[in-house]
């Protein structure tokens, strides 16, 4: 690899790093704004125009808070916890392909930090490491509520990772590759987006992604009615900020991952036609780069939609009870995702991609039948 390519690669990595942080920063603002709008309020609007400087004000506040370490806490692990959470959150975005490729001179550089052929495995590995941030922080606090929160987080993440992986396997079977870019490239035409070939897998994956990010309705680790603040009860100042920030980075990464795996990544309908027209009118290199830029923007549109969706769900659904959470994970999502894998495999034997719709159709039929057979709720007249 010669120096120019290395330089461009370095710039791309830095830009992705910066974008990740920027989006996570403004997700905190967006969260408050979306929450407010969903509740008929206006949200933060005092710091700067429309409150746009709010994240900076929040960060300033965090920095000026007392950085407190409990005397009975395990000091180094207490510091390590938020660092681990932040580190793992930031690492995951490395393998996500944000766009096609940039061309200049004779080079063609993919818009991606690193292209490895085990991208999906890498993400899974890093995401599972994310549990350590929560676990270490909760344990090091030497506080039973923190520990309970951490244990909850660990058990929740481990149980939902299984269903997450199993729903992914169906996609891997269809693509035949673990590279995220290969999965994205395979969804080039609109009706081959995995949302259309794997509808059930998508629902399972989305649910598990919520659980992995510790977002409502699965935010039991920080369930304040039972656990005060969960694993970050004892944290203050920027250490707490890191935990909260890591959550938003995780949200961004999982949104990017969902859009890459199920919504065609940087692909959009009539992409080839647009690309060809641009290359014809502007020359091969400029046209290609502009087409890449459009794809990049489209990809970020998808990511923003999913970040919004995360917030939308947060302010719609109440929190699950712990036994409901475990029942849903182990007794519903895992069997369903195994069934999904089996049906996908059966379909692939006959080169039929849309076989998992069979599950959806059967489920809809079952729902209709059970709704029809259910005893009608009798209206009992109230005593006057």
């Amino acid at each position: 690899m010669d120096l120019t390519v290395l330089l461009v690669k370095g710039i791309i990595i830095l830009v992705i790093f910066g974008i990740t942080l920027l989006i996570a920063t403004y997700s905190t603002y967006a969260e408050r704004k979306v929450a407010a709008f969903l509740q008929d309020r206006l949200g933060p609007n005092r710091a700067g125009p429309w409150g746009l400087l709010q994240p900076i004000a929040d960060a300033g506040k965090m920095f000026f808070k007392e950085d407190f370490i409990p005397s009975q806490a395990s000091k180094w692990l207490f510091i390590l916890g938020p660092c681990l959470a932040m580190l793992t959150a930031l690492m995951a975005s490395a393998v996500i392909p944000f766009g096609d490729s940039i061309r200049f001179d004779n080079y063609s550089i993919p818009l991606q930090a690193i292209e490895i052929n085990i991208g999906v495995l890498y993400i899974f590995g890093v995401v599972s490491l994310g549990v350590y941030g929560v676990m270490v922080g909760g344990w090091a606090s030497n506080n039973k509520f923190s520990l309970l929160g951490a244990i909850r987080a660990a058990s929740q993440n481990i149980s939902y990772e299984i269903a997450l992986g199993l729903s992914m396997i169906a996609i891997l079977m269809m693509t035949g590759s673990l590279s995220v870019r290969a999965i994205v490239d395979q969804q080039a035409s609109f009706f081959e987006w995995n949302i259309f070939t794997q509808p059930l897998g998508f629902v399972i994956f989305l649910t598990c992604a919520f659980a992995e990010c510790n977002r409502t309705p699965f935010d039991l680790p920080e369930c304040e009615t039972e656990l005060i603040g969960g694993y970050h009860t004892e944290y203050s100042s920027m250490k707490l900020g890191f935990y909260l920030f890591a959550e938003y980075i995780n949200m961004f990464v999982s949104s990017a991952f969902i859009s890459a795996l199920y919504f065609g990544g940087f692909h959009y309908p009539f992409m080839n036609e647009v690309g060809n027209a641009l290359e014809k009118s502007m020359g091969a290199i400029t046209g290609h780069n502009i087409a890449t830029a459009i794809g990049f923007v489209v990809f970020f549109g998808k990511i923003f939609f999913f970040i919004f969706f995360f917030m939308w769900v947060r302010w719609t659904l109440p929190r699950f009870r712990y036994d409901q959470l475990m029942n849903l994970g182990w007794k519903t999502l895992i069997p369903l995702s195994i069934l999904n894998v089996v049906i996908t495999g059966a379909g692939l034997l006959y080169n039929f991609k849309y076989s998992t719709w069979a599950i959806v159709i059967v489920m809809v039929l079952m729902v209709v039948v059970s709704g029809a057979r259910a005893p009608k709720r009798e209206a009992i007249p109230q005593q006057v």
């Binding site: 969903l38 008929d40 206006l42 629902v203 939308w312 302010w315 659904l317 489920m363 259910a374």
Partner: protein, 188 residues
Amino acid sequence: MQLTNRSKQVSNKEMTLAEKMYLPAIVGGLAITISHFFRKKPTIQYPEVKKYLGPIYRGHHILKRDEQGRERCTACGLCAVACPAEAISMVAAERKKGEENLYREEKYAAVYEINMLRCIFCGLCEEACPKQAVYLRHDLMVPVFQERDEVIYGKDRLVENMNDRYIRVANSEVQTTPTEPSLTRAAT
């Protein structure tokens, strides 16, 4: 006894599959919240936008003058007696010769103080006053204070300014309650 027509009978019947799947209910919930997202917000941006609080709002106290600019207060002390929070105190004095254009009656309040920390803005002083001298303005609030010595308002901050007289009903369509002495321009 039926209190509302929206009450629902509780039932412990087994959930149907659609209910167990959560998904239809989740979609329904998402539709409800997104409809709120686009709804007009009822918020009033308070320091910039102030809502008209009505002609009977009880705000800042004012000691009225009559149409010739003489203070109406005779320091009878009925407002101080009526005050449930004991916020009002005054010192009476006799009018000297040559002060007829300052004070309406022969006795006047040399000192008239209201402790705004004590005042509960009930308006009983206004009702007790036989001379229609003390009123609670509907258009001005007592400002926020930082120091305790800002809290006691003397005559300098209470007596009406003749160049900017207070009129309760600026809008003639808004009527005051009939039991209350009306305070239109003609009555002052």
